[in-house]
C-alpha cells in the first residue's frame, strides 16, 4: 500500500465506523511508515477527543418554553393562501350549477335566507322567456336553482372547513431564511388548549373568505339586481377581503 492510498482507506474505515487498527492492511502499512502512523493516531485522537467533549445541557424548562411559544405565536398565516382559491372554487361551482338554467327568466320571489350557511341568497331576475318554453313553471325553476345554489354554498363551506382540519400545521418552509412571523392578532384564550385555539383561529379566515366569495359572486351575477330593489347583504358580520396581499 502506498501512502496516498493509506488515507483513503483510513477514511473508508472511519466512514463505516470501524477501528482502523483492526484492519490488517492499514496496520501493516502503519507499522512500516511513521508518517502514516502519526496520521492514523491523529484520526483516532479526534474520535477520542470528541467523545471526551463536555456536553452542555439546555435549561430544564425547554419543553414548557416551547409550548408557551407555540401558544404565543399566531396560527400559521400560510392558510390565507386558500382564500382566493376558495373564491375561485366557489365561483366555478356556482357557474357549473347555474350553467344549465334558462337565462332571462322572471322569478316569483326570493328564497328565504338559510340559517345554516352565512351566505347571501341570490334573487334570480329573468328576461322574457325564449322560444322554447321550459318544462316547469318559472317559479319552480327559480326555487330549484336557488336551493341548488344554497346547497353548493353549504357544501363548499364544509369542504373548506374539512380542508383546514386536515392541514392543522401548515408551515411552509424549512429553508429558514424567512422573515420573522407577523405580530399576533387575536388574543389567546387562556382556557383553551393552545393547539385547539390555533385550529379554531385558523378556521375563521376560511369562513370569512367563503362569505366574502359568495358576496362577490352574488354581485357578479348578470341579473342579480332586483328591479327597484337593493342587493341583499351578507348575514355574517366581518367579511374578509377576497385577495390577501400579505405574504405567507
Amino acid at each position: 500500500m502506498r501512502c496516498n492510498e493509506f488515507e483513503t482507506r483510513l477514511n473508508h474505515l472511519l466512514d463505516r465506523r470501524r477501528d482502523p487498527r483492526h484492519d490488517r492492511i492499514v496496520a501493516n502499512h502503519a507499522d512500516d511508515c511513521g508518517d502514516c502512523r502519526r496520521l492514523m493516531d491523529a484520526y483516532l485522537g479526534i474520535c477520542e477527543g470528541l467523545s471526551g467533549l463536555a456536553s452542555p445541557v439546555p435549561a430544564d424548562d425547554l419543553g414548557e418554553r416551547v409550548l408557551c411559544e407555540l401558544a404565543r405565536q399566531p396560527a400559521p398565516s400560510s392558510r390565507r393562501w386558500l382564500a382566493p382559491w376558495a373564491a375561485i372554487a366557489a365561483a366555478l361551482l356556482v357557474f357549473v350549477a347555474t350553467r344549465d338554467r334558462q337565462p332571462h327568466q322572471p322569478v316569483a320571489a326570493p328564497a328565504p335566507a338559510l340559517a345554516a350557511a352565512p351566505v347571501p341568497v341570490p334573487v334570480i331576475v329573468a328576461a322574457p322567456a325564449p322560444a322554447q318554453t321550459p318544462s316547469a313553471p318559472v317559479g319552480v325553476l327559480a326555487r330549484q336553482a336557488t336551493e341548488k345554489y344554497a346547497d353548493l354554498a353549504r357544501d363548499t363551506q364544509s369542504a373548506l372547513a374539512g380542508m383546514s382540519m386536515l392541514l392543522p400545521h401548515m408551515d411552509i418552509d424549512m429553508d429558514l431564511n424567512m422573515d420573522e412571523p407577523a405580530a399576533q392578532s387575536d388574543p389567546v384564550n387562556d382556557d383553551a388548549s393552545p393547539l385547539t385555539t390555533q385550529v379554531a383561529a385558523g378556521l375563521k379566515p376560511l369562513a370569512d373568505s367563503t362569505t366574502g366569495a359568495m358576496s362577490f359572486l352574488w354581485n357578479m351575477l348578470p341579473h342579480s339586481q332586483p328591479a327597484g330593489g337593493t342587493l341583499p347583504q351578507p348575514t355574517s358580520g366581518n367579511v374578509a377581503p377576497l385577495v390577501r396581499t400579505d405574504t405567507i
Binding site: C3, G49, P58, G63, E69, M174, D175
Partner: protein, 186 residues
Amino acid sequence: MPDNVRELVSRCLQGDGSAVVELVDHFRGQVFGLCYRMLRHQQDAEDVTQEAFVRALRSLGRWDSSREFSPWLLAIAGNRCRTLLAMRSRRPPGSPLVEDLPDRSPEPAGFANLAEEVELALTALRDEHRAAFLLFHEQELSYVEIAAAMNCPVGTAKTWVHRARRELADQLIRRGAVEEHAHALQ
C-alpha cells in the same frame, strides 16, 4: 425509531401539550448539542434549540413517518444555526458573539487535553465542514441523512467530513497533541 416517538408525534398532532413537552425532552440533548457545537455560544444555542423545536412542531404534519424523526429535526436545527451564523457574519466586527475559548500556547498538549484540543480545532473549521463532521461523528447520522439535513449531495457531505477530519488531524499534529510529522505524499 422507537415506537414511542411515533406515538408522541401522533399525540402532538392531536394537540396533547404533555406530548409536546415529552417530545422536546426526548430530543433536546441531541438538538442542543448540535447547536452548541455549531454556534459555540450557550445562549444562542438555547435560543436556536427552542426555535428549532417550535418550527418542527408547527410543521409536524409534514414529517414522513416512514423515516427517522431525528434527522428531520436536526435538519431544521442545522438550518437555524446556519441562518444565525450568516447573520453573525453580516454584523459589524467587534461584537462579542462567541464565547472565548482558553487561549492555549503552542505547547505539546498530550492526550490528557485532547478533548480541549479537538474543541479548539473545531472552531477553526468552516461552518459546513464542522456541521457535517459533528452530524456524522457526534450525532452518528449516515451520509444520506446528513445530505438530507444539509440539503446537499451525498458526495458533498462525505467530502466535507473527510476534509474536516484532515484539518482537525493537521491541527492536532501542529499543536503537538499528536507527534509532529512532516509528510510528503509520494
